[in-house]
Each structure stands twice: as C-alpha cells, then as structure tokens.
C-alpha cells in the first residue's frame, strides 16, 4: 500500500507510542548506536607501573624482615636486648623525621599524648608477655607456622596501598600482623624475647606504614632508594637464615615487580567496558 511505503521511507524512531509499521522484533540500523565501549580507559606505561609496584614490595619487605628477625632470635644470633634497643632507636629517629616532614610544632600537646601512649603500651606489653609465652604452648609448631603464614598473607591482602578499593581494611590488616607476631613470639625461649618481638612487630606494622606514607607524599623520589635499601636489608638478613628462602624472595620480587606489570599491560586490549543509555545515571553536580 502507498501508506506503508511512505512510512518505510521515514526514519525509524526509537519511540514506543507510534506504530511505525514494522514488526516488534524489527532491528534498525541504529540498534546499539548509543553504546560506547571503554570510555574511561587508562593507558599504562611499563616503567611507571613497575615504579608504582614498589608500594606492594615495601610491605612485603616488612613481612620478610619480621620473619627473618624471628628466625635470628630463634637461632640466638640476635639478642632481645639488641633488638629492643635498635628498634626503639630507629622508632625515635623515625618519629622525629615524621614530625619534621609534617612541619609540626615540636612542643605541642600531641608529643605528650604520644609519649603517654608509648609508655602505656610498653608497660602493658611487658606485663602481658609472660601470658603470651604460654598462650599457645599446646599448639604444635607446624600449626603455629601455618597460622602465621595465613595471617601475614591477610596483612598483605588487606593493607592500605593507597587505593580506594572495598577490600582495604587497615584494622584487619594490622590485627592480622599482630596476631602473627603473637603466634611467633610464643615459640621463643624467654619473656624478653616475646616482648621485644611483639614491640618490634608493632613498630614495623603500625608505625612504619605511617612514616612511609608521609615520605611518599612529600618526597616521592626517595621511594626507589628506600626500596633498594630495604630490599638489600631483607636479602642479607634472609640469606643468613636460609639460602632457599633468598631464592624464593628474589623470584617473588621478580614476579611482582616485572611480571605482574607486564601481564597487566598485556591484558589491556581485552578490556570490554560497555556503557549506554541503560546505565544508572551518575548525578552531575
């Protein structure tokens, strides 16, 4: 009929209230025209990603240093007094560096508060150390090592690396690390050992990330040097415990620093983000 010829020459409109003379399952050329793919894509540059991956490596260095320290204490190479003195000295230096970086006043109230917190912690820690020793007496060493492994893994997984992901939980990460340190501390011979290890763990997992973050914000170029330094410390301390461990560490380092960025970049072409009028609208300000 002449009427339907007329209609078919008119452009098909994406509306529901007009009978456009076509069947309901008609597919127009403008089908999926408004679909957009990969709108907010980021291009990654290999060496930039490698540089950024050192954030993860630094936390891994902390974990390895901690375990190495435990084994050194176990083998009586490291005395608890030495560990306590060294870690306290480094902590005080780090604390001074931190408030210099943040341009804070040296004699404000928060110094007094920090001092009080430290005092309370040391006293509590020292008085609870004998309990720590006997806490896991009946559990076999293998179980302790397995628990420590999973707790330190949890620490790495939930740590705040600076992203805004849902999996990040600073509290959970710190708790896992402290639990790991308690597990290991219970395997050491004396109360002194336990106390110094737990104090070291707190300084390493609670205080050091804060300084690290502030250093990253104010002196981003120091990160590589810091990573190199820490990396060498880890290699040396682990090497004196076990040569197999060093090899594992170096392979892990290679995997995270070189292989993972390469993999990420290789997968970029497969990205398939679909956007279109069906998306839930984002309220524009």
């Amino acid at each position: 009929m002449a009427m339907s010829c007329d209609r078919s020459r008119k452009k098909w409109q994406k509306v529901l209230y007009k009978d456009q003379g076509v069947s309901d399952n008609y597919v127009d050329e403008s089908f999926l025209e408004e679909m957009k793919k990969n709108l907010h894509i980021r291009t990654y540059e290999f060496w930039a990603v490698v540089r950024e991956s050192n954030v993860v490596m630094q936390q891994i260095y902390s974990v390895w240093i901690f375990v190495a320290v435990y084994f050194h204490m176990r083998n009586f190479v490291l005395t608890p007094q030495f560990l306590f003195e060294m870690s306290s000295a480094v902590t005080i230096v780090g604390y001074i560096v931190n408030f210099v970086i943040l341009h804070e006043n040296a004699l404000t109230k928060s110094r007094w508060k920090d001092g009080k917190t430290m005092g309370i912690f040391l006293i509590l820690g020292f008085s609870l150390s004998p309990i720590l020793m006997t806490l896991t007496k009946t559990i076999s060493t293998d179980t302790i090592y397995a628990m420590t492994f999973f707790m330190l893994l949890a620490n790495l997984l939930f740590h705040d690396y600076g992203t805004d992901a849902a999996i990040v939980s600073q509290a959970f990460s710190l708790n896992a690390a402290i639990f790991a340190s308690i597990c290991l501390a219970s395997r050491l011979p004396t109360t002194w050992h336990a106390f110094s290890l737990v104090t070291f763990a707190f300084e390493l997992f609670a205080l050091w990330p804060i300084l690290r973050r502030n250093l990253k914000i104010h002196f981003p170029r120091l990160q590589i040097i810091l990573s190199f330094l820490l990396g060498s410390v880890v290699t040396v301390s682990v090497a004196t415990v076990s040569s197999v461990a060093v090899v594992v560490f170096l392979l892990l380092h290679l995997f995270i620093t070189i292989l993972c960025p390469a993999w990420l970049i290789r997968l970029q072409p497969y990205k398939n983000n679909i956007h279109g009028p069906w998306d839930e609208a984002v309220i524009k300000q």
């Binding site: 994406k14 209230y17 309901d24 399952n25 999926l32 679909m35 069906w278 309220i283």
Partner: protein
C-alpha cells in the same frame, strides 16, 4: 490459533507492583481473546494451593515459601516434578516467564524447554555489567536465554540491554511496551488547587529513584516560585533527607509528605497535581509517568533508560540527571502551566487511553506466541550446543545441568507416566456453556 499459556513469576497478586499487574492484565486480555491462561507463583504466607481469579484465571500458588527478596530459593532441579505436573495437567503449550529477578520464572522456562514446550521470557528491568552481582546475574540470564524461543522487552533501551547481557540475536527479541488501565486513571479538574501550582512526586524514596536529586531541586524551585507546592507520596531511607530540607528551608506549608500510598489511593493523589516529577536514575519503562499522564498531569523527568521513548515531547519535559537541568525543565513546565500552554488533561488522558492499552499488548504478544508455535522443534543436541556457547567454563557446566535435567525428566516420566496424569478442566469450555455455545476455536 488459540494457545494454552502458563505465566510464571515469583511476583504476583497479592503483591502489588509493576510486574504483578502486568501479568494480571495481560492474562485477562489474553483470556478475552480466547486463549487459556494459568499463572504459577509461590505461596504467600498461608495462601497456597489453587485459586481462581476473575474470568477463570487459575492461579497455582506452589507450596514453596519465598526466601530472599520475594523469590524462592533457586535449586534448579527440585521444581521439575511440580512444574512438569502442572504443564501436563493443563496441556500447556507455551510457558511465559516474567522478570529476570524471579528464580521460579527462570527455572520454569528451563524445565519447559527440557520438556519441549515453547518458552517466552519478558524482561522488565535494566542491569549493569560491571559489578559482581551483575556479572553473575548476566551469566544466569545467558543460560536462560540460550534455551528460550523468544524474548520480550518493555522498551527499546531494555532490548539493547537484554541483547548485550544475554548475547542473543536481536531479531529474537520483541519490544512490547507496558500499558495502563486508563479507566482507573482519569483526570478530575476539581481536585486541583487553582491558586497554586502543585508538583506531585510518587516514588520510593531511595537512591535509585533519585531522592537526592529531589532533595536538591525542592528548595531551588520553592525559592524561585512562591506559588508552587509539593506533594510527595512514598517512603524509604531517603525520607529523612527530604524532611531535613523541609526543616532547613522552613517549607512546612509547601511540602507535604504522605508516606506510603496504597495502590488504590494513588489516583487520588495524582489528580491533585499539575505537574508530575520523576527523578529516577534508571528506568526500563516507568509506568508511573504514564499513569500521571493519564490523570492529565504534565510530566517532568530525568532522561534515563527507556523514559525518552515513552511519551511525546508535548507531554513530557526531559532533563539531564542533575539538579540544575531538572530545575530548568521544571521552570519551563511551570511557565507553560501559567500561560495555559499545556495539553488539556482530557486530551492527555485520551491519548494515553488510545496508545497504551493492554488489549494492544495482548495482541502483540499473541503474534509472538503464534510465531514460536509455528517454529520447528529444537533437538536436545542443538540445545546443548547453544548452552555450550555461554562461556568456556560456564558452557560445560550448563551442558551438564541441562543433560541432568533431561535425565531427571525421563525418571519423572517413568515414575509418574503421562497417561496417569489427569487433565484439568478447561475453563473456556465452562464459559462457552455459560454464554450459550459461542463458537471459540479449541486448542489442540
């Protein structure tokens, strides 16, 4: 050709909602056209068993309680015996499932296809692609749509979304919009306040329905126009935000919060307004704006999802999902109202009455039914091939599920043979006796 249709969904009366009334109205219109329609849903509290609604619409309230979000627990295989029994008893030749959220609908379609009964699926909502729940739901949808004969979507945007999510051929998807019962939503000019311009909002006060946008638009409009008042029906977590706005800007006499409005009272609230405001962030069709248009209100809405396709430009002002754009569009609508440039309420009502009718929906759905009835039967091997295309790993899992379901069907056929199942009485025969032998075609 007259069919025996089984509508399946987790969402049906006594629940009130879009999908529920869609199923009910469509079933009634199909019965008017001479088809046999039954509805299968889960139990609602004590309501379990077989009930009859008007015109002989038989509803099977299966003795399964809903577990989460009004839906039954998805078990895939345990619904096979009961669905098989119902399909054989009622001699069903088409199963029509509604809503991708309904586990019962998806499972029934799966069992129907295992029994070589034709299946149609209607999608009522839009989905994302990126978050975890969407990825899983889309996989399940791919599985369902791989077996289905035809799909129906309520808008063109919904069709594009379903085709992308379910990876099906677009010519296997028909676009059949929703409709309203215009006889319920009639305009009455006497209810309106002639001194003021009343803006009505009728939605759940949640993030998805743009309650935040509403909270930022209200003070702006109230400050620009002194004769504007708001009536807000609906409740939800964001109600507090609206109340805070009311407190902060001292608009107690200009904003009325009605709380939850029962379905039968919606019309009474709508006819008090001049303008209907919809701030949703995502909608496949948005039946609320059609109801408002039917009551003679001018609609102002965010231009999201399928909303731009629903009403012509002289009946709706579209805006970007931002407060400034909405305020601009509201200004235009208010200006038009002041200059009496709006379409008359009766004109709007007549337009809706002629355009969005359930009879039209039923007619177009019947075309889909006729088409799939005429299509050739798909063999089990073909079905398994289609399931395999759903994904590298998922494909194999789906094949396994489909094959297991087929074996379970053979087991059911052996335990309870087809010959032993009594056929249910066809209500149409009873109606024919009652109306004195009007000649309707029998179904095969």
């Amino acid at each position: 050709m007259k069919h025996s249709i089984c509508m399946v969904s987790d969402f049906f009366y006594p629940n009130i909602g879009g999908v529920e009334s869609h199923i009910y109205q469509l079933s009634q219109c199909l019965i008017e056209r001479g088809h046999k329609v039954i509805v299968v849903t889960h139990a609602y509290g004590n309501r379990s068993g077989i009930r009859y609604l008007s015109n002989g619409l038989k509803v099977y309230y299966l003795p399964i309680q809903p577990v989460y979000n009004q839906c039954i627990l998805p078990t895939v295989f345990t619904t096979l015996p009961v669905i098989r029994n119902i399909l054989l008893r009622e001699s069903i030749n088409i199963v029509h499932g509604h809503s991708a959220f309904s586990a019962l609908a998806l499972e029934s379609i799966f069992h129907a296809r295992t029994m070589n009964v034709k299946a149609v699926f209607t999608d009522h909502s839009l989905f994302g692609f990126a978050d975890l729940s969407s990825i899983l739901t889309n996989k399940i949808l791919k599985f369902s749509l791989a077996g289905v004969n035809h799909a129906i979507c309520v808008s063109h945007t919904c069709k594009e979304n379903t085709v992308l999510r379910g990876k099906i051929d677009p010519s296997d998807v028909s676009v059949i919009p929703n409709a309203v019962d215009a006889s319920i939503f009639t305009p009455t000019s006497t209810e309106r306040d002639p001194e003021k311009i009343t803006i009505v909002v009728m939605s759940r006060l949640v993030y998805r329905k743009g309650a935040d946008l509403l909270a930022s638009v209200i003070p702006e409009i109230c400050s620009r126009h002194s004769d504007v008042q708001f009536i807000i029906g609906g409740d939800g977590p964001k109600r507090l935000a609206i109340e805070e706005v009311r407190e902060h800007f001292q608009l107690h006499d200009r904003i009325r919060l009605l709380g939850t409005v029962g379905h039968s009272a919606v019309r009474q609230v709508l006819v008090r307004g001049d303008i209907f405001l919809n701030t949703s962030l995502t909608e496949a069709f948005c039946i609320a704006i059609v109801e408002a248009a039917s009551c003679g209100l001018q609609v102002v809405s965010t231009s999201v999802g399928g909303i731009p396709e629903v009403l012509p430009p002289d009946m709706i002002q579209l805006a970007e999902p931002s407060a400034t754009s909405l305020v601009e569009s509201l200004d235009k609508a208010i200006a038009k109202r002041r200059n009496c440039q709006l379409l008359s309420p009766d004109g709007a009502h007549d337009w809706v009455r002629k355009t969005y009718t359930w009879q039209n929906v039923a007619e177009r759905t019947e075309i889909v039914y006729d088409k799939i009835s005429a299509a050739t039967e798909v063999t089990l091997a073909d079905r398994l091939h289609r399931y395999n295309k759903c994904g590298l790993v998922a494909g194999k899992i789906f094949i396994f599920i489909a094959a297991l379901n087929y074996l379970l069907l053979i087991l059911c056929n052996w335990i309870s043979p087809v010959q032993n199942i009594d056929l249910a009485i066809d209500c149409r025969k009873l109606r024919r006796l009652k109306t004195g032998g009007v000649n309707l075609e029998q179904s095969s």
